[in-house]
Symmetry: C2
Subunit: 242 residues, 2 copies
């Protein structure tokens, strides 16, 4: 079995910093966690908040703290640091090889989609953003790691795409259509969802947008771990000699 | 301009844990850093050491500490924690968008390769592993970020591949041959080097092996940031129902 994860991420149109922060971290007892936070508003201020939250979560996960406890700690930390005045959404998606489970932690009103083969379910249920009061808990979904699973999570820039242009993205139908049509790579799936969201915002993303896709496959594995990273260099940052 | 990075990593044959730890982290002022440590020996003990080192470095980088200072801090930290009895190699490769430079920090006798187009240079020069004395410093190479650069770094499992079978890997010639032949993706280049190293170890890697490749390309970018992760699940960890 192999676990394939992919991320596609773009800044709000004409901003140089994204309020969405995402890190992938190795779990100390085996597996990976993907941590995605979206700080209130956009630009520099939002980036500081989301970075602070993601840093706190990954440092706790790296010490072996469980996902739910890490999310609660990040909420209390943000509440204390910013006196309850600033909020952020937080999603943690973990493939835990110690327990043999996938764990989805949501502090985010946006849903998470889960597909077994081509059947797509939507994980909604009430979920509160972190930072605005004491005792905020994540909503947690945990199930056995098995072949043929697809998990898709994203920030509100994807959910609310098209709001300004009077269009909307039916993400569930889109995912079903792609999965029925072919067996996409995690990156293809993430790119397609992000591409559609950008398109209905008339190619000028109205907010920071991030999509995370995780798929489990029954491929016989060569046991090589692989990771890639593509970082666009914004035109104004390209050194003149380049 | 786009920065493409890729990692390929395998455990020593028949061990479930790798002594090599690698994390990719976003720099707070723009860009990415790739941090690779190899703890003394292999298995669980080495994993604890390399994780400790990488964690320390990425938490400092995330606070805006410069690469050289983070490497020195990690060395002092390991020296203090383990009373100077344990060593680790440490490489930090950063694409720093604030300074517009690539920064290579080595605390590792293994060389780092740098290619401009197809011309391959070998960055050697004395370099000491961390943790065994006070005042250990990294050897640092810094140069402007420009198109057509390729940087390749790896742990000693790659450098010493074939030792047992009386073969050896001429990494410089291999890189030159691949770059002259085609314009490989960062992942293809990492996979080819790792594949050759495994082959001359008779398909049973004699040590943990990690290869990191970073390439800069002049491609006109869609400004979408992408990341992928492929995690093989070892056969003994696949849950029975899968």
């Amino acid at each position: 079995m192999e676990i394939h994860a992919a991320v596609a991420k773009i800044n709000k149109y004409a901003t140089s910093e994204s309020g969405d922060t995402l890190e992938i971290v190795e779990r100390p007892n085996g597996g990976i966690s993907i941590v995605l936070a979206d700080g209130q508003t956009s630009g520099k201020g939002a980036k500081i908040i989301s970075t602070m939250v993601v840093r706190k979560v990954i440092s706790l996960l790296a010490e072996g703290v469980r996902d739910g406890a890490a999310a609660r700690a990040a909420s209390d930390y943000l509440f204390t640091e910013r006196s309850g005045k600033v909020t952020a959404t937080l999603n943690i998606l973990s493939a835990d090889l110690q327990t043999g489970t996938l764990v989805i932690s949501r502090n985010n009103p946006s849903p998470v989609f889960l597909a077994r083969r081509e059947r797509v379910e939507c994980i909604t249920g009430e979920s509160v953003s972190i930072g605005t009061s004491r005792n905020i808990r994540p909503s947690i979904t945990e199930f056995p790691l098995e072949n043929g699973l697809t998990i898709i999570m994203f920030t509100d820039g994807i959910r609310d795409a098209g709001d300004r242009t009077g269009q909307s993205l039916d993400i569930c139908t889109l995912i079903e259509a792609i999965l029925e049509d072919r067996d996409p790579s995690a990156q293809e799936l993430a790119d397609t969802i992000l591409g559609q969201a950008i398109r209905i915002d008339n190619n000028r993303p109205n907010d920071d947008m991030s999509v995370v896709v995780l798929r489990t496959k029954s491929t016989e594995s060569d046991q090589i771990r692989r990771m890639t990273f593509l970082l666009p260099v914004p035109p104004m940052l390209i050194p003149p000699q380049a």
